[in-house]
């Protein structure tokens, strides 16, 4: 259990570092996806503490996982996909407007516009 948690924490941190530190906006979006994925994994891991079978009601299911985190994460994944799609669309717009994907170059060129 502890190893999984450390791995999830690493995933979370690398996502955050990518969002803040990477200059390429596509990599920033990847970072956001990593961040989302790490929290999803955390919820699923937590739900599996009390059982190990899929939460499908059947006669011979005895120790199923907690179904609520799974239901929540399904929603969170959908939201994550929406946000990624929108951010990629914005990235394309930014590239068309400034001809670059580098956040510093983008800000400089946008400032020169004025």
């Amino acid at each position: 259990m502890i190893i999984e948690r450390i791995l999830i924490a690493l995933l979370f941190l690398s996502g955050f570092a990518a969002i803040v530190g990477m200059r390429n906006i596509i990599k920033k979006i990847f970072g956001l996806n990593l961040l989302n994925a790490s929290v999803v994994l955390l919820f699923i891991l937590e739900g599996s503490r009390i059982g190990n079978q899929a939460p499908i009601l059947d006669a011979d299911i005895t120790n199923m996982v907690d179904p609520i985190p799974q239901a929540l994460m399904l929603t969170a994944i959908v939201i994550g996909v929406c946000v990624s799609a929108l951010s990629l669309a914005l990235a394309v717009r930014l590239y068309k407007a400034t001809g670059s994907l580098d956040i510093q170059v983008i800000t400089e060129r946008l400032q020169r516009e004025h």
Binding site: V39, L72, I79, T107
Partner: protein, 573 residues
């Protein structure tokens, strides 16, 4: 019971239905039907829910609330919506800004039907936020509201608007991941997601420290949407680069809704009151810093955006003090009502200012406060016969400067009266001085230009869009009405927000010699400050301030700082 729950869900379902109708008609029909669908969608999505919820007014107040479960599931597993006085007020505030802003946008854009559909989706999300009694549902609705906001900001298609939208999206989505972590923590601790069950379980349990950390993870992302310092760096670009109608909405509605939804999240954890005081200090600092930065701006819409930060600081100050006193106590209910009253006035006058200044700067094709002059003449050239834009601007500016008899005077004075005696009071008074000074600075855009006046042939004038004036006039009228009937407006808000009968204020209360002397001295100090900016050293100081531009990483630095500060508070206290 069944009709009741239908009415409760109407503010969420009907806007979605309206949006669906508009989008279907957009893809299958030609212009006329598309247009018609927009009006029908707006009617069933915005106006009908407001009327329906207003009809529930008699059931509310005195701490009562109505409950319903979505999709007639059992109480334990369904999503519970609780409709109380605060929900009704939030829905009314949203409608009061959305309808005029939409009317304004009819001719000057963004006037496509997906804009109307987006507005409706946003209204559905806001109604759901105002009513939900479930942490995860709050997360979903906040994300829906956020996604619509990102799309709306990027709507003007300019590169800088897209950049503003992108950085807001990255920051806010990252913050929402932290919100999810907080939800996770509370779910682990209590095994439930509904507010009531969490509060019950936490009141009994130990583990208070862990619960507090989870609360911080929930509070900071919401305060980010509210734009309290140091979380407000994203706001300036987003609000100033968006289309005018969107700016009005962002600043009028989207800043306040999360703040008042946070009232309920706060009540989950027993010791949460210890964060309330630091947040109220942050609010007072926000009010002061916001106005100083506003004074330093040269871009008209940026100046207004910094004023949004400053005014939300006022609201947050009273809000924090209310939560510290406890919203169920007499003093807390008073402070919360005052806070909402100012939020409501600010929503009206700031929306009005964004629309009026936007119209003026568009007509002058210039947004620089120092170089744009003679805006009313440019408006005349555009075909405006009566100086309605100027008059509406004046209503908004006098409201924000707290000059009677407009609504800002009443709400600001009531707010400063309610917090009198604390450290916050002098800070907010100073912010009031700065507000007067910066609006004197902004008002210069309407001064006559130096160049010679050319005469315009009346028949050559283009027609000025009627809907634009209608949008402005509705907001100006609301500003004047909530000012003239300020005691009644306040009594309405306080009656919905507090469980006990509240003290009401009559008109005399607002016009004591003390209050009038304070208003006069604030105005005079504001004029003095304005004159100081015009001098060489003053201009130099504010020019240096105005050069600050938030970089992408600064936004995240502010977020980390806010998290760290609140964690520190939790450790120390």
């Amino acid at each position: 019971m069944d009709t009741l729950s239908n009415i409760l869900f109407a503010p969420v379902y009907l806007p979605l239905l309206g949006a669906a109708l508009i989008l279907v008609c957009k893809s299958f029909f030609k212009t006329t039907i598309r247009r018609l669908a927009e009006y029908v969608g707006m009617l069933i999505g915005l106006i009908v829910p407001v009327i329906l919820t207003l009809s529930l007014r008699s059931e509310l107040g005195a701490g009562r609330a109505l409950e319903a479960v979505a999709g007639s599931w059992a109480q334990e597993i369904g999503i519970i919506y609780r409709f109380d006085g605060l929900s009704l007020l939030m829905i009314l505030l949203t409608a009061a800004v959305t309808i005029p802003a939409w009317i304004y946008s009819r001719k000057v854009g963004p006037a496509h039907s997906s804009f109307t559909a987006l507005l409706l989706v946003q209204n559905a999300a806001i109604a759901a936020i105002s009513m939900t009694a479930d942490l995860f549902n709050l997360f979903v609705c906040l994300e829906v509201m956020g996604v619509v906001a990102y799309v709306l900001i990027a709507g003007s298609q300019k590169g800088s608007a897209v950049y503003a939208s992108f950085s807001y999206l990255m920051l806010s989505s990252t913050a929402m991941v932290f919100f999810l972590l907080g939800t996770f923590g509370l779910y682990r601790l209590t095994g439930s997601l509904s507010y009531e069950a969490i509060a019950q379980s936490l009141a009994a349990g130990e583990n208070q420290q862990f619960a507090l950390i989870c609360l911080i993870l929930l509070v900071v992302p919401i305060l980010l949407r509210v734009a309290v310092l140091p979380l407000s760096l994203w706001l300036v670009d987003a609000h100033s680069k968006a289309p005018h109608a969107v700016s009005a909405l962002l600043s009028g509605v989207l800043l306040k809704i999360p703040l008042f939804a946070l009232v309920r999240v706060f009540s989950l954890v027993p010791d949460s009151a210890l964060f309330a005081l630091p947040i109220s200090y942050a609010g007072a600092i926000t009010a002061l810093v916001g106005v100083l930065m506003a004074l330093a701006q040269s871009d008209a819409k940026k100046l207004l955006a910094y004023h949004s930060i400053s005014q939300i600081g006022y609201v947050v100050t009273a809000w924090g003090l209310a939560l510290q006193a406890g919203v169920h106590t007499q003093a807390g209910a008073l402070l919360l009502s005052v806070s909402f009253f100012h939020a409501f006035s600010h929503a009206l006058f700031k929306a009005l200012l964004f629309l009026a200044v936007g119209t003026a700067t568009d007509a002058g094709a210039n947004r620089n406060v120092y170089t744009l002059r003679g805006a009313s003449r440019s408006l005349k050239r555009e075909g405006e016969r009566l100086p309605i834009t100027l008059l509406c601007y004046l209503v908004g500016a006098l409201s924000i400067m707290a000059i009677p008899p407009f609504n800002g005077y009443f709400s600001k004075n009531l707010l400063t009266y309610a917090i009198k005696g604390g450290v916050h009071y002098p800070m907010l008074t100073m912010a009031g001085v700065g507000t007067v000074a910066s609006f004197l600075k902004l008002s210069r855009i309407f001064l006559p230009a130096k160049e010679k006046e050319e005469t315009l042939a009346a028949r050559l004038r283009p027609r000025f869009p009627l809907t634009l004036h209608a949008g402005l006039l509705i907001l100006a009228l609301l500003c004047i009405l909530t000012g003239l009937f300020a005691p009644e407006t306040y009594a309405f808000i306080a009656g919905l927000l507090s469980a006990q009968p509240v003290q009401s204020y009559d008109a005399h209360f607002f016009f004591t010699s003390d209050t009038l002397a304070k208003t006069l001295s604030t105005a005079l100090a504001g004029i003095a400050l304005f004159l100081f900016i015009l001098t060489k050293p003053g201009a130099w100081i504010f020019h240096q301030l105005g050069r600050y531009k938030a970089r992408f990483s600064d936004l995240f630095f502010g977020f980390a700082l806010a998290l760290a500060l609140l964690l520190l508070v939790a450790r120390v206290l």
